[in-house]
């Protein structure tokens, strides 16, 4: 296992009385692409903000490797907020000062044919995202934290965005942590999937193993209690039951048809509203 670039120890966080993270312990090694999924408002963005150092833990600690000191953490929030009246040029100068960047990497920005005299408020969502990505990549980050921004990008810019991440990861062995709703395009990229619920990770598996660990059963009848049903969708005539952790012996024991599920479907199921989550003990 590679050395951890960042890890949390019993990290807790909340807004007023609402607990968002509950003694969360997780570790991310060097050169890993991990995806965090989960319902809206479950705390994914909060975790990214804590890891980025924009928020501070209520209790517990975040341990960062020397390689992941503040100016080597690239963070893209889902709001893509910059001062609206500034020109691109001014935003770049500001970011470079704040993160001790020598040279702004303008390759992506130039590929879009954008100049630096444009005001931020006149950029499209895609152009903003590319500007943000260019800013954080200029930091030569060892840790990239990217909240869900891909869904607002058109296919061309999304490709550009993803290619730039792959390129950076190959060049710098960077760790990439993304929060994703739209997932199908990058389905084969991440090596680890984490699903958040109740302030913790309820799934944390290598994506390669996940196909064997999570199966779907479609049935009109309720399933035997003994099956490890992780969650179910029961709004139609045919109910969908997601089995996790799945073992091959279950096929013989229950004589049910356990279907394979694509990673994108797993992620979508965890996000969508139409399921009843069965809380793990």
């Amino acid at each position: 296992m590679n050395q951890a670039i960042v890890e949390t120890r019993e990290l807790s966080f909340g807004f007023s009385r609402k607990k968002v993270l509950d003694e969360l312990c997780v570790s991310f090694p060097e050169s890993e692409w991990a995806v965090i999924a989960g319902r809206n408002g479950v705390g994914k963005s909060t975790l990214l903000r804590l890891l980025a150092g924009v928020l501070f833990p209520k209790s517990g600690t975040i341990v960062r490797a020397e390689a992941a000191r503040q100016e080597k953490i690239g963070f893209i929030s889902d709001t893509l907020s910059l001062f609206e009246d500034w020109t691109v040029e001014r935003a770049i100068a500001f970011h470079c000062r704040a993160f001790a960047v020598d040279r702004f990497d303008d390759r992506l920005f130039t590929r879009l044919g954008l100049g630096q005299t444009v005001r931020i408020k006149n950029l499209s969502a895609g152009e903003r995202a590319i500007l943000h990505l260019s800013l954080v990549l200029s930091q030569q980050p060892s840790l990239l934290l990217i909240d869900e921004v891909m869904h607002m990008l058109d296919p061309y810019i999304r490709d550009l965005f993803i290619e730039a991440l792959i390129e950076h990861m190959a060049a710098k062995r960077a760790t990439v942590l993304t929060v994703n709703h739209t997932f199908s395009e990058i389905e084969k990229i991440p090596e680890r999937l984490l699903v958040m619920d109740g302030g913790r990770f309820v799934v944390d598996e290598p994506t390669e193993a996940l196909g064997g660990l999570m199966k779907k059963v479609i049935s009109r009848e309720p399933l035997p209690e003994a099956l490890p049903c992780f969650f179910k969708k029961t709004d139609g005539i045919y109910k969908e039951y997601y089995i996790y952790p799945f073992r091959e012996e279950l096929r013989a024991e229950h004589g049910l048809e356990f279907q394979d599920i694509a990673l994108a479907e797993i992620v979508k199921a965890f996000i969508g509203g139409g399921y009843e989550q069965k809380r793990m003990a």
Partner: protein, 126 residues
């Protein structure tokens, strides 16, 4: 080169990369001594994690399919004789899968032979 990855396939991406490169060698698209694309370039081309491509390359090297001398990149190491043996093994494997499927559908070997005869005699196959 014509390498593609099927995102819907349950086969792990690194195994798909291994298969795609082997197929490319067997079909003559890549020859003995040819340089494989760099890990970075192939990762970008296929929209894959660089670690996935690296894993496939290590596996190909471990199998003796390619080698990375002096770290200047991976080169195909499949002499013509070995390529033909591999091609035959791959075809036999495909044929075996096909036959198993046919038998599970209730066809006998005689049925299959008859099918082949019939297809052979169709005008388009003459």
């Amino acid at each position: 080169m014509n390498l593609t990855i099927d995102a819907k396939s349950p086969l792990p991406a690194y195994q798909q990369v291994i298969q795609a490169i082997k197929l490319e060698v067997l079909s003559g698209g890549l020859c003995d001594g040819d340089l494989l694309p760099s890990i970075r370039d192939l990762a970008k081309l296929l929209k894959l994690n660089p670690n996935t491509v690296a894993k496939a390359y290590y596996a190909l090297e471990a199998e003796g399919f390619s080698e990375n001398r002096s770290g200047s990149g991976s080169r195909v190491r499949v002499p013509a004789g070995r390529r033909d043996a591999l091609r035959q093994a791959m075809f036999e494997n495909e044929l075996k899968n096909f036959l198993e499927k046919a038998v599970s559908l209730g066809f006998s070997l005689e049925d299959i032979q008859q099918f082949i005869e019939r297809i052979k005699n169709e005008p388009s196959h003459r």
